[in-house]
Amino acid sequence: MNDPNKNKLVYSTPKKWDYKLSDLLAVNGIRFITGLLLLIMMFVLGKIFIEGSGSLSWSFLTEFPTNNMTEGGIGPAIFGTVTVLVLMILMAVPIGVCAAIFINEYAGNTLWTRIILLSVNNLAGVPSIVFGLFGLGFFILFIGQKLDEVLQTGLLFGQPAMLWASATLAVLVLPTIIVSTTEALKSVPFSQRAAAYGMGATKWQTIRDIVLPQARPGILTGIILAISRGAGETAPVLFLGCAFFLPDLPIGYINMGLFSIPMINPTEQFMYLSYHIFILATQSTNPMLTKPIQYSTTLVLIILIVALNLTAVIFRYKFRRIIDEIRGVSS
């Protein structure tokens, strides 16, 4: 009855040293591994930044490589990358977004839609080299050659070119776009659709005026992630018209009387940033001499991808805010 601890709250757990030790080990182990990971990342990025920023300049970004790649810039590789990615987006976004709208809004939750979604998700896991071979076989050897036969264009489409590289990359990023669009559409609350239907909107009017505008930031996030994925790929473009070195930009001139208008020619070959890094490091006559350029090219590619991903993060934040706003009021 006179136990002084009787009415006190006892905070300490029963003396179990092994329990405390495992706790300690777990927490510090996780800390250590996280720190190690950050350290490695910082080392890699830091080295690239330090070594690469030296030769980074405006002329480096715009000039052609000269003197067996040991001097000059990476202008055509940046030009090629941007052009291919723009063409890729032009092909992938309409197909991907329409497919997602169909799957999510029209097809319903049937066995077929589940099989389609499963295939889409599997497509995301296929190694990119397989996409490259697919592009070579399907786009160039099948579609391209058939086009040449039908249009009597000799050998115009049936060879590796920008057009087919973008088409292949478009197939590669389709899963990213479809999945993120589907998620964005799903997260628009049913009450919003109900409101539109309740006022006599048709299904398409509801999708066009209510669902798509609210899902737009989410869809844009997917598109930007798709671009950064496409920018980082090397294997698919390898088969599809990515050139070691080109003396000219892939630009054709359309003659209209006195004027000749420069246009990007999608049937030409191109240079690509990620592939350029590969050839600088392994295929050039003197890899040691190209080292500063390798680092700078890598830095440019990394900055490009980080910038794109940051944009995606901002869009996602905006998207969350819109959805939270609706939910916050209606729940």
């Binding site: 006022m199 048709t202 209510i210 609210q214 706003e325 609706i326 009021v329």
Partner: protein, 252 residues
């Protein structure tokens, strides 16, 4: 002078294999307020959503029996659902305004149905907002985001938005259940005003509310219509024992 607006006969509603409404027959009268009461899960909302075919959107919905609006069976295959939902407007339990401006929210319906003239749209906004007793609060803020208003204001905007598509019948699904007493009072006044031009059907959990505003009251229990009478009768002298127990608060 009771004119039947909506006539429901032997209505059974199923969701997959669960029966939500069991042999409901009821006549709802023009320019009257009918309130539908009953414990949660008794099929009140399902009944409401059957009248503007909102249930069609739910997978596994099936029904037998007839729902007749102005002498026309609304589940006939040649009925335009879109047009039906325009004639039978619905206000939901939680305000579901779009994340757009007040003006865009209220003109959403009229725009869908082809009104593009900016001046005309402005007139509609002023007109319906006045009728929904919200004009004084929104007239200087028409270009503000509708979601920045208070919950009570938002719910009145929802009603204004429904009025803008010029319906005949207005379905209200617990429109005041998420609101404070003063906002509720405003909504109730507004509903009483609506009676003159519209047929109003309101689902409510609030017995006093049903007693205050409605002309007729229907009591649903376990998917069945137990009693349907004049509100004064049902609240003073109900025929059915279950109704009496429910409205006096002994169960439910």
């Amino acid at each position: 002078m009771k004119e039947v607006k909506v006539k429901v006969q032997n209505l059974n509603v199923f969701f997959n294999y669960v029966q939500a409404l069991n042999n409901v027959s009821i006549e709802l009268y023009t320019n009257k307020i009918t309130s539908i009461v009953g414990p949660s899960g008794c099929g009140k909302t399902t009944f409401l959503r059957t009248i503007n075919r909102m249930n069609d959107l739910i997978l596994g919905f099936r029904k037998t029996g007839e729902v007749i609006l102005d002498g026309v069976e609304i589940y006939d295959h040649n009925i335009d659902v879109v047009n039906l939902r325009r004639l039978v407007g619905m206000v939901f339990q939680n305000s579901n305004l779009f994340p757009k401006t007040v003006f865009e929210n209220i003109t959403f319906g009229p725009k869908l149905h082809g009104i593009k003239d900016k001046e005309k749209l402005g007139e509609i906004v002023e007109n319906v907002c006045t009728r929904a007793a919200i004009w004084n609060e929104v007239k200087d803020r028409l270009n503000d985001n509708a979601l920045s208003f208070s919950a009570g204001q938002q719910q009145r905007m929802c009603i204004a938005r429904v009025l803008a598509v010029e319906p005949d019948v207005i379905l209200l699904d617990e429109p005041a259940s998420a609101l404070d007493p003063s906002s509720t009072a405003k909504i109730e006044d507004l509903i009483l005003d609506l009676k003159e031009n519209y047929t109003v059907i309101i689902v409510t959990h609030n017995m006093q509310q049903a007693a205050r505003i409605s002309d007729y009251t229907a009591f649903f229990y376990l998917g069945q219509l137990v009693e349907y009478e004049k509100t004064t009768k049902i609240f003073t002298n109900p025929t059915n024992k279950q109704t009496e127990d429910y409205i006096t608060g002994r169960f439910g």
